[in-house]
C-alpha cells in the first residue's frame, strides 16, 4: 500500500476535538480505499479543490435509491477511490443501537467497504462511505439478510428521522420513534423506488423544542403538542428560585405571549394566552408540566435554499391526534403526495408547489379548512380571488 505524506492533514490531528484525520488514518492503515482517500484529500487540501466526479447511477437490484455513486476525477493517481460510492443504511428510529447489532454492520463494512462511515448523515442514515460498484450487491444481500435495509435517495421518500421522544424525554407529546418507524415501514416502496417529482422528507419531534430540526429541513414536519393547561408545582418553583434562578427575568419576561406572572412566591400562567412555545417548561422542567389532550401539529414544506431561498415548514394542520396505527395522518399524507405528484414539475418540492399554486388549492386537495393558526398574519394587499361558490355564501 502506498504511503502518502499528509503534512496538511496532519495539522488536523492536533487539538482537543476528535480528529477525522485520525479516523481516516486508522481506516487507511488496513484498507486500500481509505488509504487512497487520505491521499486524495491531502491533495485537495494542497490544491484547495475537490477531486470528485458527479456520480453515475449505481444501485442494487430492484431499488432506485440508497446508493450515491461517486468516482474520483483523478483515478489514475488514486485508484482506490476510482469508485467510492456511499451506501446509505436506514438507521433505527432514535439512533439507539444494541452493540451486538451494530457490530454486524461494522463487520460487513470492513469486509466490503472502506471502513469509513458517517454516523450519521444529515438526513439520518448511517452513511457507509466508499465502496466499489461490484461490492454493492453482496453487501446489500448480507446487510438485508441480517435485518437491515437501505435508506432513501433520489426523487423518493427519504429516510424519516425523529428526536428520541418518549424514550428519554419528559416533554414528548407523541411517540416520535414509533411514528418514525411506522412511516418508514409503511412506505418502503416509496422509499426505495423513486417515483416522485423530487425528494420528500419526514422529520418528527415530540414537542416545539424540535430537537430534530424538523421545521428547517423536512417536507413534512410533525411536532407534538397539547391542548390543556400547564400544571405548576409551586414548591418546585420555589426551589428554582432558591437555586438562584431569576424567575422574573429568565422566565416571565421571556415568555413571548406575556401570559406569565410571578409575585415572588407564586407563578401564574394564563393558559388561554399561552402559545405552548416550551420556553418556561424547558427551563423549569421540575415545576411545569403540560396536561390534557396530546397530538401533533403538521407543518409542510421546508427545504434548502436552491432556488428561491430556503423554506421553513408551514403550519397546515394545527392539531391532529397521533396514535397507532396513525390512520388519519397517513391518509392526509397520501392526499398530499397525490396532489404534489399530479401537479409538480420535475424537481419541485411540495413547499415550492404550494407557493406556486397558493395555499388554497393545497388545503382543498387535502380537505383541510382555512384556520388562523396557519398564518402569522393575513394578507396585506386587496387582490384576492373569489370562486363562484364563495360569492353565493
Amino acid at each position: 500500500m502506498k504511503k502518502y505524506e499528509t503534512p496538511l492533514l496532519d495539522e488536523l490531528e492536533k487539538g482537543p476535538w476528535p480528529s477525522f484525520v485520525k479516523e481516516m488514518k486508522r481506516a487507511a492503515a488496513k484498507n486500500e480505499m481509505a488509504n487512497d482517500e487520505l491521499g486524495q484529500v491531502e491533495k485537495s487540501y494542497k490544491d484547495k479543490r475537490g477531486y470528485w466526479k458527479h456520480g453515475g447511477i449505481v444501485g442494487v437490484l430492484g431499488y432506485g435509491g440508497g446508493v450515491i455513486g461517486r468516482y474520483s476525477s483523478i483515478p489514475e493517481e488514486f485508484p482506490g477511490v476510482a469508485h467510492f460510492h456511499t451506501f446509505r443504511i436506514n438507521q433505527p428510529s432514535g439512533m439507539y443501537y444494541k452493540t451486538e447489532r451494530l457490530r454486524e454492520i461494522m463487520d460487513l463494512w470492513d469486509k466490503y467497504g472502506s471502513g469509513l462511515t458517517n454516523m450519521h448523515g444529515s438526513t439520518g442514515d448511517m452513511i457507509m462511505l466508499g465502496c466499489r460498484t461490484e461490492a454493492l450487491e453482496p453487501l446489500f444481500a448480507e446487510t438485508s439478510s441480517r435485518g437491515w435495509d437501505l435508506g432513501g435517495s433520489g426523487s423518493a421518500l427519504r429516510t424519516p428521522a425523529c428526536c428520541l421522544g418518549k424514550s428519554r424525554c419528559e416533554w414528548a407529546n407523541i411517540d416520535t420513534m414509533d411514528l418514525c418507524n411506522e412511516l418508514t415501514q409503511a412506505y418502503q416502496d416509496y422509499l426505495h423506488r423513486p417515483a416522485w417529482p423530487y425528494k420528500f422528507k419526514f422529520k418528527i419531534a415530540g414537542c416545539a423544542v424540535d430537537c430534530v430540526a424538523s421545521i428547517a429541513r423536512a417536507d413534512c414536519s410533525v411536532i407534538g403538542t397539547w391542548k390543556g393547561k400547564i400544571a405548576v408545582d409551586q414548591s418546585a418553583v420555589a426551589n428554582y428560585a432558591k437555586g438562584g434562578m431569576n424567575i422574573q427575568a429568565e422566565i416571565v419576561d421571556m415568555c413571548p405571549t406575556g401570559c406569565m406572572s410571578y409575585n415572588g412566591s407564586e407563578l401564574t400562567i394564563d393558559d388561554e394566552n399561552c402559545s405552548r412555545c416550551m420556553h418556561c417548561i424547558s427551563k423549569m422542567t421540575k415545576a411545569l408540566r403540560p396536561t390534557g389532550e396530546r397530538g401533533a401539529t403538521i407543518l409542510i414544506g421546508a427545504k434548502a435554499p436552491i432556488v428561491v431561498g430556503s423554506l421553513l415548514s408551514w403550519v397546515v394542520v394545527p392539531f391532529i391526534k397521533m396514535e397507532p396505527p396513525y390512520t388519519e395522518f397517513k391518509e392526509l399524507v397520501e392526499k398530499m403526495w397525490e396532489w404534489w405528484d399530479d401537479n409538480a414539475k420535475p424537481r419541485e418540492r411540495i413547499g415550492e408547489l404550494i407557493e406556486m399554486k397558493g395555499m388554497r388549492p393545497f388545503l382543498e386537495a387535502i380537505g383541510v379548512e382555512p384556520q388562523a393558526q396557519q398564518v402569522y398574519e393575513p394578507r396585506k394587499d386587496p387582490f384576492f380571488f373569489w370562486k363562484e361558490e364563495d360569492l353565493n355564501k
Binding site: G50, G115, M119, G130, C169, I215
Partner: protein, 363 residues
C-alpha cells in the same frame, strides 16, 4: 470473510424490510420507563440525569463525535458501551455519541474511557454542541470547501464551550460545503456556508461530446445558461449566474472550482425551536473568507469573534438570533466590527421585506 457470490447474494437478499425495530435497540431502563419520564437535570456539560415517574434514573454521558468515524473507533466506543451500558449506545441528532447507565458511579468511568480513546465529553446544556456538517472534499463533487477540516479547526478553538464554559443559551453551529446546504445550516446560530465567486469556465471543445445541451441549459436555476450554436456549446450570462455549480454537475467541461476565489460565508442568528421566538433563518454576517486549509485561521477567528461578542453581550436564555433582534443588526455589525457591504443587502426574492422602512434605528 470472502465476499458473497452472485448466487449467494441473490438467495440471501431481502427487500423492503426497513430498518430493525427501535424496540430491539433500547437499553432496559429506557424500555421500562418509555413515555414515563418526569424530569431531567444537566449535571455537567458532559452528563445529565433523567428521572422517571417510577423513580428510576438514567445517567447520560455525551461525547464528541467527529461524525467521520472508522469502524475501528466505533468498535472501541462499543466496547465502552458493553462495559458500562449493558451493550447499548446511541447517536444524537447532532452526531454526538451517548452512553446511558443507571449507575451514577459509571459516569466518571465512561468519561475517562471515552476520553482516553479521543472522545471527550460535553455538549449538554447552554454551550456549543457538535457542528452539524456535510461531506466536503471527503466525498462530494459539489464541495467548494472541506467540511470536516473546518469543523475540526473551529471546534478545537471553541472546545471550552463544549466541555466546560457556559454561553447565554444553546449555540448551534453548522457548516455546509456548498449552497445545496445539506446540513440545513440555514437555521443555525452561526453557520459557515461555502460559496463560489466566479462564473464557471467552459471548455467549449468538450461540451459537444460530453454534455446534453438542453439538460445543461435547464440545469441552471437562474436561467443564466443559453445555447451557443456557433460554438456548439453553451454560454453563461455573467449577470445572472450566482455560482451555484449546478451546471458543472451535469456537464463536466464546465468548471466551477476556482481555488483562489472559492471560500466561505458566515451566516448568523438562525434557530429552529419555537421557544420564545419562532424559528428563524440565519442571515449574512460575513460574505466571504478565502479557503485557507488546513486550519482556516481567518474563519476560526471570525467565528470566535462572534461567539465572544455574543457571550459578553447577550442575556441569559437568549439565542444568538434573539440577541441580535434585540440589539438590532446595525448594533451587531458595530459590536462585532464586521464591515457592512453591498453583499449584505438582499437582492433576492424577499429583498423588499429586509429593507428598513422605519425612521427608528441606532447610529
Amino acid at each position: 470473510m470472502s465476499w458473497l457470490s452472485e448466487q449467494e447474494a441473490k438467495q440471501k437478499r431481502q427487500t423492503d424490510i426497513g430498518p430493525p425495530s427501535y424496540k430491539e435497540m433500547l437499553p432496559p431502563v429506557i424500555a421500562k420507563n418509555y413515555g414515563k419520564w418526569k424530569y431531567h437535570e444537566v449535571l455537567t456539560p458532559g452528563h445529565m440525569v433523567h428521572v422517571a415517574e417510577s423513580g428510576d434514573k438514567v445517567y447520560t454521558v455525551r461525547v464528541a463525535g467527529p461524525r467521520l468515524l472508522s469502524t475501528a473507533s466505533i468498535r472501541e466506543l462499543m466496547d465502552i458501551a458493553d462495559k458500562y451500558c449493558d451493550g447499548y449506545i446511541r447517536w444524537t441528532t447532532r452526531n454526538n455519541i451517548e452512553f446511558m447507565t443507571t449507575k451514577e458511579e459509571n459516569v466518571a468511568l465512561i468519561k475517562k474511557a471515552a476520553d482516553e480513546i479521543g472522545f471527550p465529553s460535553g455538549g449538554i446544556g447552554s454551550g456549543i454542541s457538535n457542528m452539524v456538517h456535510t461531506q466536503g472534499w471527503i466525498h462530494c463533487h459539489s464541495a467548494c470547501t472541506d467540511a470536516s477540516g473546518l469543523v475540526k479547526a473551529i471546534m478545537d478553538e471553541l472546545f471550552p464551550y463544549f466541555n466546560e464554559k457556559h454561553l447565554p443559551a444553546k449555540t448551534r453551529l453548522a457548516l455546509a460545503c456548498c449552497v445545496n446546504m445539506c446540513g440545513a445550516v440555514h437555521c443555525s446560530d452561526i453557520a459557515v456556508v461555502a460559496i463560489h465567486r466566479k462564473v464557471p469556465e467552459i471548455d467549449h471543445d468538450h461540451v459537444k461530446n460530453m454534455c446534453e445541451i438542453p439538460t445543461t441549459v435547464s440545469s441552471c436555476p437562474t436561467r443564466a445558461i443559453s445555447p451557443d450554436p456557433a460554438k456548439k456549446s453553451i454560454k453563461i450570462n455573467p449577470d445572472k449566474c450566482m455560482y451555484c455549480g449546478n451546471c458543472f454537475t451535469v456537464c463536466p467541461p464546465i468548471n466551477i472550482h476556482n481555488p483562489e476565489q472559492d471560500g466561505v460565508a458566515i451566516v448568523v442568528g438562525g434557530k429552529v425551536g419555537s421557544l420564545r421566538k419562532g424559528p428563524m433563518f440565519s442571515k449574512l454576517a460575513i460574505p466571504y473568507i478565502k479557503n485557507n486549509p488546513p486550519r482556516w485561521p481567518e474563519v476560526v477567528e471570525a467565528v470566535k469573534n462572534i461567539v465572544d461578542t455574543y457571550a459578553k453581550d447577550a442575556r441569559k436564555n437568549e439565542r444568538v438570533g434573539e440577541w441580535i433582534d434585540r440589539i438590532g443588526w446595525e448594533s451587531f455589525f458595530k459590536k462585532t466590527g464586521i464591515p457592512f457591504t453591498f453583499q449584505h443587502i438582499d437582492d433576492f426574492t424577499f429583498a423588499r421585506d429586509t429593507f428598513r422602512t422605519s425612521a427608528a434605528f441606532k447610529w
